[in-house]
Symmetry: D2
Subunit: 323 residues, 4 copies
């Protein structure tokens, strides 16, 4: 394969982010674009090239790898279609909506001979890579995590559960995946939720207990504010607090005084600071070298499972135990 021919289904915000990155990649080319609003695909093509296709079928004929960057609820069907056509698939988060769909897509993806990667870009963000590196050399005792939004107004569909599948599918799911990446598999969870400004549960208080014995609090609010940092992980180790603030900074306070070190990615362009460049490179690596992608369909499935189990815990008032 000379250059991986990338086909993009869904040329909205995130589709264009990936399009711009692949347009600069020497190992790939943006070959085909499809959107149910053809004008959007044409606009993207004007800026990064690629054939504007009239159907998914036409797109499949013109590419080796498919990016599924459509609204959440369509992921299962479109990604399954792409697998069936023998394509490598990069499926944006969330992997799918609901346990039934997630199980269906997991089965499809695991039956595929090609690469199937899920778009949990935060795993590649330098701040979280650094956190994992620090935690591999020290023992985390517990953590205190929050993942807020300031509103569900912009864009408007963020407040529409028919599109999102529920608030937790929106950005909170990124940190559910992140917890597994940093702290391992989850054993139990308890959760409380309430509904205030939107026609769905919009405030969450959760505790996750991990198989390692590690435990953490997790707060998520849909309409708190965009006050920096609206995404924060504080990890407590022995005489040490390590804190991430969005994907901008990592603060490491070691020892028994109040001193600390700050690593800042302020000078790093956003596409790299948020891990998009690196996840796209990782996808190409997997496609070209045949290795396992760093975020698998199983990872995608498990993040969906966590979302669904939190909702279940709130509905039933019961503790959830994982096998």
């Amino acid at each position: 394969m000379s250059k991986v021919r990338i086909g993009i289904i869904g040329t909205g915000y995130i589709g264009n982010v990936h399009a711009r990155i692949y347009a600069r990649e020497s190992r790939a080319e943006v070959a085909a674009l499809y959107d149910i609003v053809p004008e959007k695909a044409r606009k993207t093509a004007a800026s990064v090239g690629g054939k504007v296709c009239g159907s998914r079928e036409e797109l499949f004929e013109n590419c080796d790898a498919v990016l599924v960057t459509t609204p959440n609820k369509t992921h299962t069907e479109i990604a399954s279609h792409a697998v069936a056509e023998g394509k490598h698939v990069f499926c944006e988060k969330p992997f799918s909506i609901g346990l039934t769909d997630a199980q269906k897509l997991l089965a499809v993806a695991e039956s595929s001979a090609k690469v199937f990667q899920v778009g949990h870009n935060r795993r590649f963000a330098p701040v979280y890579v650094k956190l994992k590196e620090l935690l591999s050399a020290d023992k985390a005792h517990s953590a205190h995590i929050k993942m807020n939004r300031g509103e569900l107004l912009n864009p408007v569909w963020t407040g529409d559960t028919n599109v999102t599948g529920g608030f937790l599918y929106e950005t909170t799911i990124h940190l559910f995946d992140m917890m597994r990446f940093q702290f391992g598999e989850i054993a139990e969870l308890v959760a409380y939720g309430s509904q205030h400004e939107y026609p769905e549960l919009d405030e969450f208080s959760i505790i996750f207990k991990f198989k390692s014995g590690f435990h953490c609090t997790f707060a998520s609010s849909s309409d708190a504010s965009w006050h920096f940092p609206f995404e924060r992980i504080e990890v407590f180790c022995h005489h040490r607090t390590i804190m991430t603030e969005e994907m901008e900074r990592l603060l490491d306070s070691k020892g028994i005084d109040a001193n600390f070190e700050t690593l800042s990615w302020q000078m790093t362009e956003k596409e790299e600071r948020w891990g998009y460049v690196q996840e796209d490179k990782a996808f190409l690596d997997a496609v070209l070298n045949g290795n396992q992608p760093p975020v698998t369909a199983l990872d995608g499935f498990k993040s969906v499972e966590l979302v669904e189990k939190v909702y279940q815990a709130i509905r039933t008032g019961e503790k959830i135990c994982f096998d």
Copy 2:
């Protein structure tokens, strides 16, 4: 009564904080001091005046109001003694150790015709007074709270459960009381704990659900770090995050952008910034005017009850429901 004659039992760090404040108060005088290490009482007397007494009885004879500023485990017995002698009592936190003692002291205090106030100074700290004022004009949805220490080494007894009654009795109990002050009575709690560096549970993940429907996460670590702020309350309202950072600052981010206002008490002397001056004034007000003190024996009892119920929740793995 011309000047309230203050007797102080226990002239360690916190006894001296109050001694210095009362020494400047025109409505009171430091009249009598008692410590089981007489040299310590003499040192305090040298700086703020007052008779160094050879026994509690001698102290009671020389004062109208007693400050119980001894180690945690002795509060019940000493405060009961002072009530029995007909004295007004200011009892430092924690009110007592264990539910049995707490119930005993509550009964004693409620039978007293005199004032009985508990030393939850944070209720008087300007930052928390301001938070309560803001929350009285807006509706809190949920909160994310942490209360850490950097170590249990300084002073050495902070790591000795025979002195503290357990880590949660040390400083965490202040924020248990604070939650009731800000958010009302608690309906349920779930908790996870683990033990790492000290011979007791030293890391906690808790969710409190309140009778109002409000819920919050609460993390507490004994040996995280002293990184500012080690004490933080983040309250999420409608398009609003209000955050306190120790007793130094309150940040209020209203609306759907990332702007915020910061109130700072950096220029306020610590004794006032931490509410000690105000709680001592409130105690004198109650003594002189016969009104109810702002932090009652029942408040003291309930903070102890929360500590014990968190430990019980961890021990049993069960959700705790309050009547």
Copy 3:
């Protein structure tokens, strides 16, 4: 004129920033591109469209307005050429290098019947627009300003005075223009400089006195660090400090306590946060409506004059007075 046909000479970093912005503008199109390294122009064309031209002449034939986004030393000659061809000109900062060239280009620009705008984008950055708005309603007494770089290594030409014309021409000149924008015309300056790591003056301490009586300190270092904020303006008014931190935040502390309000542009995309989108719109407005551009050739000239006068003050050890 249906759409303004934009021609871009120099398709390096900043040329591409403008190219991407014009590619999204409905009132303009990227029509022609020229670079002495043709491959660079081709790359830009691939992403935003436009004819790749083999010469400046070919470019002039295919556009109405020219962006001069080449290295500093070529601005005078290229911009003069574009004016001579009757084109609207947007000339990146610095306007030119050296007083002789600056005077020459000023004469050319002022003789043009078309628009001539200089690329001092910071005037359009929301943080500086807000500062100007606040200062129009209050009286500034003095200011304390710094404009640092962390190194002159990336890109390599930043350390080459043959390209930059001297360190002050690099980014410091932006804040020289900003001072005039915020505080008016300058009456006097005194300056000290020293040379440490690069073969040119690389550390500067300056005082500017303005015709209004206002005065400010100004520090600029070429190799301090990228510690946030490396660009900071602190303005002191009556019981008020207003502080900008790069183009990210504005802090406004009014009154005699330590409270303050923070406006943050963290959620704004960089192209807008840095004012590029707005300056390109302003250029189009001037071209289409025939009005004066908001940053004129005279503004460009005066920023160059300030650079040269600071160097002169250091060389001579004398105070510089402007007419």
Copy 4:
């Protein structure tokens, strides 16, 4: 000498700060107190002990060392008197007001066989001790310094030049001394000043050039705001910015990224964080061991000289050169 008998002339705010520190010192005792308002001396005595004296003479009879903690303008006369009586003298800053007085007191102090120390406490503050340590291992290129107040209202005499001798004598003089401590002797200065809210010059822009070639900007405003940090030193080294924020924090950003280390003295009690405890220990050391005090009369004189030369530079519009 068993215990150094301390006599305090002037028992206002700063007199009491030192009184409390000496009251805890095993090598000293607060032996005598004198204030022209006897009630104030009595109040201090009630809290730290010591004989309340009816005259300076009575005080001199009862002490070995005298603290001159009276208003600025009286320092020369009182400190001279104490030297004449053969006492060790600790003279609060400013050393004196005006060059004539400063020269007079310098001659007196240098003729004394006893210790004469000046109260530039900031030299002992951990943040500035640390800065000096870092700068001894790296080469400073230039600096950017500010020293503001939020108002001259509290206490009221801060706005009365008859008491202060002029705004620069208030707190700015501390950082004039600090510059000499950190960067060495000054060779030249240029300065601009203006008058806005108070009946004296209240806004200053200064450049100091040092004998080493080092140079720095220095801004000082009397009524900016108390926004943290109102006292800040930023030192620029090779690929490094070291910044102090009041006496709370030191930030050290080394290398060409935006990372930095923060040392915090937030957990240190104010009397030590501000260097008072350490300067009082140093004074006792000098008294008991006969060594030179760390802040000499000459240091005191030179800080006064800098104040006067800045005022002269503003008056004359001329550069000031030191021998």
